[in-house]
């Protein structure tokens, strides 16, 4: 459709003077173009960009995009120059707007991360102990199809969804508690889930489904106790109640470990805690995926409330936020999301901490696209970490090793680059 427009416009390219005339009114046409939203300080200086819509020269667009790229105004600048299809002016304007509004500079990040995530997915589907190739699958090789359907697809699905969920939930926890170190474990999700899994490994008939269910129940139970205690004691004590429940769950876990048979049971408890996406089958995950997706939808819908909760409590209340109930609801949703993931995968460290930070460094705000980006980055991290976990050594390695190994240097790089300025939650 776009090429069609170009062709049409090419046939009757208006003269330059005409362009200048059409500047004024066309500016109003795109009031909500956030990326180009200029401060109205000078007034007329934002007008020329609009002429680009009337002067679509394909080649000039390319030149403009390249120029914008060359002068380091980043991807957005290049895309804008491309979008408005004018050469030098496009580049200059792109430079101007992206330079003035640092904060919009990375608005292309969500698209890029989506692309990266898709690439990681394809790789994840193909790589592993039994390498698959596209040609053979397309040729209808039964063995290859079998592996793809029963092993790789559920595993990749869980990696993407799990990473997305952990990243998004991390964003929610950090925002609601206004604490850059806040993590789901602050209110006892993962320690509860670990204790639940250990309980199932020791006392329930050995089956993956039983461990998962017990871990899910353990995580929810721990958070339920923490939130119940907090709401009984009055708001503001959620963190304290969470810490208490967290250490209680750790104690339970310790006692369970003491009673475990060191050869078999202790090893599988430890292995569960380290986290892995191994042995995930299609039959095991639908319930947990559904819970996770429902929770995520809830969190995305409540994004505005999540941001409001980060405001000082008295102020938020006078802005009409029922702080206590809203916080409970959002934490409950975030907990559901996290518990449904880690009960299947085991504890996965660092994604919930890392992904939101990277997302915020890229967007420098906490709008909805930052939440999305946290999720996408989490998905990439977990998918890539999982690919490495199953290919790096002869035996399957815990995935947490790689989430930390991949994520920490990237975060350090972003911080050292002065890219964030550290203006988010400090």
């Amino acid at each position: 459709m776009r090429t069609k427009q170009r062709q049409n416009a090419k046939q009757n390219t208006p003269p330059a003077a005409q362009n200048q005339d059409s500047l004024q009114h066309s500016q109003i046409d795109r009031p909500d173009s956030a990326a180009l939203h200029a401060p109205v300080s000078g007034g007329s200086d934002s007008a020329p960009r609009e002429s680009m819509q009337h002067n679509p020269e394909y080649k000039q667009g390319v030149t403009g995009a390249l120029l914008a790229w060359k002068y380091k105004q980043g991807i957005t600048g290049a895309l804008l120059a491309w979008k408005y299809e004018e050469s030098v002016t496009g580049a200059l304007l792109a430079w101007k707007y992206t330079a003035r509004h640092n904060y919009t500079r990375h608005s292309a990040a969500p698209y890029l991360t989506t692309l990266l995530l898709l690439a990681a997915c394809v790789l994840s589907l193909l790589a592993g102990k039994y390498p698959l190739s596209l040609e053979k699958i397309l040729a209808g090789d039964a063995m290859q199809l079998q592996v793809l359907l029963t092993l790789r697809i559920p595993r990749t699905l869980m990696a993407v969804l799990g990473g997305f969920a952990l990243g998004a939930a991390g964003f929610v926890f950090q925002t609601v508690f206004c604490n850059p170190l806040a993590a789901p474990d602050m209110i006892g999700v993962s320690s509860g889930a670990s204790a639940g899994a250990a309980f199932a490994i020791l006392f329930l008939p050995a089956s993956a489904a039983a461990v998962t269910l017990s871990a899910f129940a353990g995580g929810l139970l721990a958070v339920g106790i923490a939130l119940g205690l907090a709401s009984a004691a009055g708001s503001g004590s959620i963190v304290l109640a969470g810490i208490a429940v967290h250490s209680l769950a750790q104690t339970v876990l310790m006692v369970l470990k003491l009673t475990a048979d060191p050869e078999r049971q202790l090893a599988s408890i430890e292995y569960w805690i380290m986290g892995s996406l191994n042995a995930i089958t299609l039959g095991r995950i639908p319930f947990y995926c559904a819970v996770c997706v429902i929770g995520l939808i809830g969190l995305f819908l409540l994004h505005r409330q999540i941001i409001l909760l980060s405001v000082d409590e008295a102020e938020a209340r006078m802005l009409g936020v029922p702080v206590g109930q809203m916080r409970l609801l959002i934490l409950l949703l975030a907990t559901l999301v996290v518990a449904s993931v880690i009960s299947v995968t085991g504890v996965i460290s660092f994604i919930g901490l890392l992904a939101p930070h990277i997302a915020r460094l890229l967007t420098r705000d906490n709008r909805l696209h930052t939440l999305t980006l946290s999720g996408l980055l989490g998905g990439i991290l977990l998918t890539v970490a999982d690919i490495l976990a199953r290919t790096a050594a002869a035996s399957e390695l815990p995935v947490s090793i790689f989430t930390s190994l991949l994520g920490a240097p990237f975060l350090l790089y972003l911080i050292m680059n002065g890219n964030g300025g550290g203006r988010h939650v400090e």
């Binding site: 956030a34 109205v40 904060y103 919009t104 409001l308 980060s310 000082d312 705000d365 203006r423 939650v425």
Partner: protein, 320 residues
């Protein structure tokens, strides 16, 4: 008299402008200050104005405190529409406690009528719609664009999952324009100076469109020009000069700076140790009476008046 009212229309000149109502009473009090004998702390003794502004907030024998300790004891006053009412007093006299009680964050006894409705009977959503609270420093700790901060003001009228509409976004931009922060609309709130943050919060107050504004020491972290800018904007907001605001607002402001209070407030509630010692009307009351009342609160002080272009400014000085 009409001269005085029309002389000041420029919003940008910071130091020249006060509310016209203030000037009105100003003028009269200079003319007849010798003949008027106002009794302090008495509402009825105030000379009758042609159109008495309706009462927005009526507080009668309010007592409040934290736990068992009572901080506010039997405080009564009222705040009228179109006026700034100042709460003045030394640290620990109960200014913030009073605001917190009005926000229903503290249990209180006595009666508070907001536009004739008892405060304790209102739902918290109703309360949020009618009262706009501006803390000393806004508790926004995470990065977000200034526009988003202003849009928060629509939360009391938005549904749980509803997003601000296009018209509301337009209103937010108008509000930012009114406080002179339009060019910062897309900037990160955390990168603003304290003064700019306070202006941004005032823009949020404009879109909230509440009938009572509670401000907790809005001047405390601001420099000299910003203090006056904020108070001026406040005057504009409550008088409904701003087109996006409906009329009939009142403001209750706790202040540390008596100078600012005497300049901008139509009515001053003096608090000491949780008791209301006097209610002053800086424009109308006699200088010696006000000096005596302020001395009770701040230790002995001198109050002087400077007249410039027929306009009286009050200056508070420590006793030599």
């Amino acid at each position: 008299m009409s001269n005085n009212i029309h002389k000041n229309s420029s919003i940008d000149t910071i130091f020249r402008q006060t509310s016209s109502s203030q000037r009105r009473t100003d003028f009269r009090s200079i003319q007849g200050s010798a003949s008027s004998h106002n009794t302090l702390a008495s509402e009825s003794a105030k000379p009758a104005e042609p159109a008495e502004p309706p009462i927005c907030l009526q507080v009668s024998s309010l007592s409040a405190g934290y736990g068992r300790s009572l901080i506010l004891k039997d405080v009564s006053f009222c705040a009228k529409q179109g006026e700034i009412t100042g709460l003045l007093g030394p640290n620990g006299c109960g200014k913030t406690t009073l605001l917190r009680a009005l926000c229903r964050q503290l249990p209180f006894t006595g009666s508070c009528l907001l536009n004739g409705q008892p405060l304790e009977q209102m739902s918290s959503r109703q309360l949020a719609r009618q009262i706009s609270y501006i803390p000393q420093r806004s508790g926004i700790a995470i990065s977000m664009p200034v526009t988003d901060v202003v849009l928060m003001g629509f939360n009391p009228v938005l549904g749980l999952l509803e997003q601000p509409s296009r018209a509301q976004k337009e209103k937010a931009r108008d509000a930012l324009r009114a406080v002179g922060m339009e060019s910062y609309a897309e900037q990160d709130y955390q990168t603003l100076s304290e003064g700019q943050k306070q202006l941004c919060i005032l823009a949020r107050t404009i879109v909230e469109d509440a009938s009572l504004l509670l401000l907790d020491e809005p001047e405390s972290s601001l420099d000299f020009p910003h203090r006056h800018r904020v108070m001026e904007l406040l005057t504009e907001i409550i008088r409904g000069q701003d087109p996006s605001c409906a009329d009939g607002k009142a403001a209750l402001v706790t202040l540390h700076d008596p100078q600012l209070a005497l300049e901008y407030c139509s009515r001053l509630v003096l608090l000491k140790d949780g008791v209301c010692t006097a209610i002053l009307h800086p424009a109308a009351d006699r200088l010696s009476d006000m000096e005596a009342a302020l001395s009770k609160v701040y230790g002995s002080v001198r109050l002087r008046a400077i007249e410039e272009n027929g306009r009286r400014s009050l200056i508070l000085l420590p006793r030599v």
